[in-house]
């Protein structure tokens, strides 16, 4: 990578972060600046990926035009200089810097990413970058043409800024969102359960080996986990701290970004809608109060995802090749196999690369032991919505395995650890939120409904 391409692609990242920060500031201005900054890269890169797919060469037109009002808005809403964060947060910053050093080294050694990274995601990015308007036709001949385009579009956009397709930039999205994910966990738990709890949760996430590996594999799993996490974090913030409907609008947007990242994101969107609606199903006004703002944020990303699915008419191997579905559902051996693999994968998530790392279950157990569980916190509507969402997504993943047309053992072996990785940051967030607050007596504002 030359110095010039590094500078131009950094401008691309900064511009995306500026858009993200302007959007988060507009929607959740009352929340702390560090929380808005944690969300900004994901929100901004998601937003820019929509613009890129719709306009193809947006840097000097749409993005330049939007940069002016975004910067003007941020200048007008300049927050007072923040007080210095507690010293403990420097521990998290140090962990993130150290992780970033390792990630950079890994990207240098595997610049094109791992198998699915180049075979699927970067092939799609190259089609967007190199193939002009033919990409819509030619993508049909690539592996998994029906996969959504947030990751490839974000990568192709970086290449457009750099002027050439530099392979390492495919990893930029994963690395940025992996670190942002740790910041979202830390800031959410920090806001709601105290700084120490937040820092510890952030450190556990950023030191999960499998999470770090996939931050640079150039797969879409870490970006997807970021959008799952951000959506659940915003719903918890809405329920406990800030019952402003605009928080739900942003949650809808991040859920939509999940759908635009991977097909599993569509299941996630359905799961969040069910989890938001179910407790207030018979209460019309409360139902509307939840779903209308969430749907408002969801509308743009979902519309673009549907446009892509309809316009490209991609082939989905899970749906297109489906046969004997009922027989598979009734086959007990398939269920047993899935459960056995899941247990093995959970162990793998804890150990990851063999014997050389300390299982993440050890710090997680200590983390719970440290403060103790607060049962009151676990009854909060936000917490319950998050938990129900993860439960529905897990059940959905399970059913996909049961009816998969692929060889079940191969399908489980090649994907189950990544499916668990989608849920891991959100599960860690909910673990942090289940703990007692550092300061006795401080706690939640319970929002009814």
């Amino acid at each position: 990578m030359t110095a010039a391409s590094f500078v131009t692609s950094s401008i691309g990242l900064l511009l995306a972060c500026t858009f993200g920060y302007a959007i988060t500031t507009y929607l959740i201005s009352s929340l702390p600046r560090y929380f808005r900054w944690a969300l900004a890269p994901g929100v901004g890169l998601g937003f820019c990926s929509f613009i890129f797919v719709l306009f193809r060469r947006p840097m000097f037109t749409i993005e330049a035009a939007l940069a002016v009002p975004a910067l003007w808005y941020l200048f007008r809403h300049k927050a007072p200089r923040p007080t210095w964060p507690p010293v403990l947060t420097l521990v998290l910053v140090a962990a993130m810097v150290l992780a970033a050093a390792g990630l950079t080294e890994r990207v240098e050694r595997i610049p094109h990413g791992e198998w699915d990274g180049w075979a699927i995601w970067n092939t799609h990015a190259r089609l967007l970058f190199r193939d002009g308007s033919n990409w819509k036709n030619d993508i049909k001949y690539s592996f998994h043409p029906d996969y959504p385009l947030l990751t490839p579009a974000a990568t192709a956009r970086f290449w457009r800024f750099a002027g050439t397709d530099i392979p390492e930039q495919g990893a930029l999205l994963g690395v940025v969102l992996a670190l942002s994910g740790a910041a979202v966990v830390a800031s959410t738990v920090g806001m709601l359960r105290g700084t120490t709890n937040g820092v510890l949760a952030g450190v556990i996430l950023v030191s999960t080996p499998l999470y770090l590996q996939h931050a640079t594999s150039q797969y879409a799993d870490v970006p997807l986990s970021f959008f799952f996490l951000s959506t659940i974090a915003l719903i918890c913030v809405y329920a406990e701290l800030n019952p402003d409907k605009r928080v739900l609008v942003l949650a809808g947007f991040t859920a939509g970004c999940a759908a635009w990242t991977k097909n599993e994101g569509l299941l996630f969107v359905a799961a969040v809608c069910v989890a938001l609606a179910l407790p207030v199903l018979r209460m019309g006004s409360k139902l509307r109060a939840r779903l209308i703002p969430f749907g408002t944020g969801l509308a743009l990303p979902l519309a673009i995802t549907i446009f892509f699915k309809v316009a490209v008419l991609g082939h989905s191997d899970l749906i297109g090749e489906q046969t004997n579905t009922f027989g598979k559902l009734m086959d007990l051996s398939r269920h047993t196999q899935i459960v056995e693999f899941s247990i093995r994968a959970l162990r793998l998530l804890g150990q990851s690369f063999g014997q050389w790392s300390i299982s993440v279950w050890v710090p997680l157990f200590l983390f719970i032991l440290y403060r103790g569980i607060d049962r009151r916190a676990m009854q909060n509507p936000g917490y319950l919505t998050g938990l129900m969402t993860l439960g529905i997504v897990t059940a959905g993943y399970y059913m996909v395995y049961v009816v998969t047309p692929q060889d079940l053992a191969w399908h489980l072996d090649s994907s189950i650890n990544r499916l668990l990785l989608h849920l891991w940051p959100s599960a860690l967030l909910l673990t942090g939120l289940a703990l007692k607050h550092e300061e006795r007596g401080k706690g939640m504002i319970y929002v009814k409904s």
Binding site: A95, A101, G102, R109, R126, R130, P209, F353
Partner: protein, 151 residues
């Protein structure tokens, strides 16, 4: 009780942070043991295919490209490595669509033969080539670009 609480309040976070840093350092250590960049299979393939891509751009070719290996020349079933080479060639050759036996990686088959054919002879170059192919460029790295003779 106060001592136990004090230990819990200070020691447990310290242990969690220490484990976190130990895991990140292990990750860095593991990363350092990975093969260097120039041994990455895709980096190798990018270099192998570089001159073929440049030539195709030079002649302004925009169609599909057929892909053959030694197994195709001997009418044998493809090996696992042939499949890996085919997948890697598709990534490297984007936006050209690489076709093996009329089939792209996914999607509908192509009925017509391509004007150009990539011979990926990663195991060894064949002694004879089919009569309907003319060598257009030999990379010297086990890759030959052929042009199909017009019927």
């Amino acid at each position: 009780m106060r001592v136990v609480n004090s230990i819990r309040q200070h020691l447990v976070p310290t242990i969690i942070i220490a484990i976190g840093f130990a895991n990140i350092l292990s990750f860095i250590h593991h990363t350092a043991s990975l093969p260097t960049r120039n041994l990455d299979p895709i980096v190798v393939q990018e270099e192998r295919y570089r001159t073929i891509r440049e030539l195709l751009v030079e002649v302004g070719y925009t169609g599909t490209i057929d892909f053959i290996t030694n197994r195709d020349l001997k009418s044998e079933p493809p090996s696992v490595q042939d499949g890996v080479e085919f997948a890697q060639s598709q990534y490297v050759m984007v936006p050209w669509i690489v076709v093996r036996n009329g089939l792209p990686p996914t999607g509908p088959p192509f009925m017509e033969d391509s004007r150009f054919v990539i011979g990926d002879f990663w195991d060894s170059e064949p002694a004879e080539i089919p009569a309907n192919l003319v060598q257009f460029h030999n990379t010297g790295r086990g890759l030959i670009l052929f042009r199909r003779k017009q019927p």
